[in-house]
């Protein structure tokens, strides 16, 4: 315990440096704006900012990008509550009861509870991250290629099971992502695969052009011609104060949302989105008056908003402890660390204590900044939505081109982004989930390498995957998931996912 607090003090000595504080503040402000703007989710925001972090200190870079991530979680709630426009996907559930509260003249308390819930969940999950990540990293030192094979396989299956929509479609998208990851030089044999003579493709397809294309550009293609945004209410500071009854009703959902969100955040997938769906479903089931949901129940705002913030922090646990991204956002953030020559993995916490503990401390600071920033300045931020979308989307489009080009000064990356934008648009029309494509792309080289290294270690025996306790446990969990997924296919029954809106 003393060690943790000693390290945390080290972290605060880093996080409270004026330059780090300034970038944490900038990240939170940019994140809030990104979260509010339809068409720009946290992933697109982080991807676009990535090139600008190349010249920065690695701690500053990761603090800035993390600020954008959890800032977007805060910002997304504002437009959901005031205008029924989810600035980013995790805020979809907040729209339902948040906007209903606005229609009943309770926009202020809904915004306040969303911000307080986000703050509490964010802070609690940073505490959990602080204790869990170093423990997990020490445990992960026992991991060899077979364990990583099992972990990555389980991760992809968990992602498919937990994602919204059809599991078959999600698995197909993960496979497409894995195939994209096959492009480039094979690390074991040196063969260049599927590059068609393009030297830029020898290093593989980058996560940034794929992420910006699939999530940013495809969203613009879907929404470019939309009607003008409706006018937004701008509550004053006095109107933000919730009643005692609203506070009492929110305590349980905030606590449950924090816990559920953090747990879901650790496992792979679009955790912040899934967690808000699951939290909403659980609150509705647990409520003595479920009929209030959809008509302005404060629990429907408190639970999902807490859950998506806790999940955003939970996603950093495997990223920092294992060097394994749980989704495209953490994959881009890992890329930001690796650009500076820092190898992610279990040794990161011991070899780069200033980076890890500085990052943890900056999250405490970021949560306070966001609470202070979001409540009093909500009226100011809402002004951004007065800009007509017809002016906004061309600028976002130009930012997409700018951001993708700047990563490696390559027009090939822009062509990839355009192809992914078109692909993302078509896939969304056919109701495919896009997150597995990006995650599959990132995990593909790691998975292939670990499988082939395992076989090289064992002299070609597949028994290596079943001889080792950690690997067999994770493969067992993967097998259980497959069986659970097969159950509704074989017996025409519905599983728990349909209860929380995750199934078809």
């Amino acid at each position: 315990m003393d060690g943790v607090f000693g390290n945390l003090m080290l972290g605060f000595s880093v996080a409270l440096q004026p330059s780090v504080l300034a970038y944490a503040f900038a990240g939170c402000v940019i994140g809030t704006l990104v979260g509010m703007l339809p068409g720009l989710g946290p992933l697109a925001g982080i991807s676009l900012l990535l090139p600008a972090t190349f010249g920065l200190d690695p701690i500053v870079a990761i603090v800035l990008l993390a600020g954008v991530y959890y800032g977007a979680m805060y910002g997304g709630s504002t437009t959901s509550i005031l205008m029924r426009i989810p600035g980013e996907a995790a805020s979809v559930m907040t729209c339902i009861d948040g906007y209903a509260m606005t229609q009943r003249g309770r926009a202020g308390p809904a915004l306040a509870i969303a911000a307080i819930g986000s703050f509490v969940a964010g802070t609690l999950s940073v505490i959990a991250l602080m204790f869990l990540a170093p423990t997990l990293a020490s445990f992960a030192l026992r991991f060899g290629p077979p364990e990583y094979t099992a972990l990555l396989t389980m991760g992809l299956l968990v992602l498919s099971y937990m994602s919204g929509g059809s599991m078959l479609k999600t698995l197909a998208m993960a496979t497409v992502g894995l195939l994209f990851g096959m492009i480039g030089i094979d690390a074991m044999s040196g063969y260049t695969r599927f590059s068609y003579g393009q030297t830029e493709l020898a290093d593989g397809v980058g996560i940034v052009p794929v992420a910006v294309g699939l999530f940013g550009l495809s969203e613009i293609l879907m929404t470019a011609g939309q009607a003008a945004t409706p006018p937004a209410q701008r509550p004053t500071l006095r109107q933000l104060i919730p009643s005692m009854e609203e506070m009492r009703l929110s305590v349980g959902p905030i606590a449950r949302g924090s816990f559920i969100g953090f747990l879901i955040g650790i496992i792979p997938g679009a955790a912040h989105i899934i967690s808000s769906f699951v939290s909403y479903g659980i609150e509705r089931r647990m409520s003595a008056h479920p009929e209030r949901f959809g008509k302005g129940a404060i629990e429907g705002v408190a639970g999902p908003e807490s859950a998506n913030n806790a999940a955003a922090t939970g996603a950093f646990v495997p990223m920092l402890a294992l060097g394994v991204p749980t989704g495209p956002i953490t994959a881009v953030m890992l890329a930001a660390i690796m650009v500076h020559g820092i190898a992610p993995g279990p040794m990161l916490i011991t070899e780069q204590p200033q980076l890890f503990w500085g990052f943890v401390a900056s999250m405490y600071v970021g949560n306070v900044v966001l609470l202070v920033l979001n409540l009093p300045l909500v009226g100011l931020f809402v002004n951004l939505l007065r800009i007509p979308y017809s002016y906004l989307y061309p600028a976002i489009l130009c930012f997409c081109v700018l951001g993708v080009y700047s990563v490696s000064n390559s027009v090939v990356d822009i062509w990839i982004m355009l192809a992914m934008g078109g692909l993302g648009y078509v896939l969304r029309k056919f109701q495919f989930d896009l997150a597995p494509v990006a995650l599959g792309l990132v995990l593909s080289p790691m998975l292939e390498l670990s499988v082939r290294q395992s076989l090289a270690m064992s002299g070609g025996s597949y028994g290596i995957f079943f001889d080792r306790p950690i690997a067999i446990t994770m493969f067992g969990a993967a097998a259980v998931l497959i069986l659970l997924a097969l159950k509704p296919l074989l017996f025409k029954s519905k599983d728990w996912r349909s209860g929380v809106g995750l199934d078809e």
Binding site: L178, L179, Y191, V451
Partner: protein, 159 residues
């Protein structure tokens, strides 16, 4: 499917998932065909062609399952493509910008892109179009290239 709907009322026709599944099977077949030039190795020592082939087989299988279970998906002609034309125009503009970026530089490319989208696609007033295009190109260049030291292409004329 809603049980209250009589079987005769069910609309017949090609479903979205049938087409999606077919496309996935076609992609799997294409990957398998392109993969033939890479050595497969053996079960004990897989070569560079083994994992792509395995993934192509899985994708093909999943595509077939999506086709088989696709009868409950929306009809293909019920999918709304109303914004598709504008989307195609935007993609074409981006493609032209990609072609021009390293030839005429960042600022001129962005001005041209914004003038086209705002002036032609969105039919905004010329003054507003010019102000936004010039303002965005110059401010974003200053922010990224000058302040954040991101390398952005210039035209042969130094602009």
């Amino acid at each position: 499917m809603d049980e209250s709907v009589s079987p005769t009322a069910v609309q017949r026709g090609l479903r979205g998932d049938h087409v999606a599944g077919l496309v996935l099977v076609a992609i799997a077949a294409f990957v398998a065909w392109e993969n033939r030039v890479y050595p497969l190795g053996s079960m004990a020592a897989p070569g560079p062609g083994s994992v792509p082939l395995l993934l192509a087989a899985i994708l093909g299988g999943l595509g077939l399952l999506i086709i088989l279970r696709g009868s409950g998906s929306p009809l293909l002609n019920s999918i709304d493509w109303s914004e598709g034309r504008r989307g195609l125009v935007l993609l074409a503009v981006c493609a032209a910008a990609t072609f021009a970026l390293e030839r005429i530089g960042y600022r001129l490319t962005m001005i041209a892109v914004l003038v086209f989208i705002l002036g032609v696609v969105e039919r905004k007033k010329p003054l507003a179009t010019a102000s936004v295009a010039l303002g965005f190109a110059l401010i974003s260049y200053y922010l990224f290239a000058t302040l954040l030291k991101v390398q952005l292409p210039r035209s042969p004329w130094g602009v």
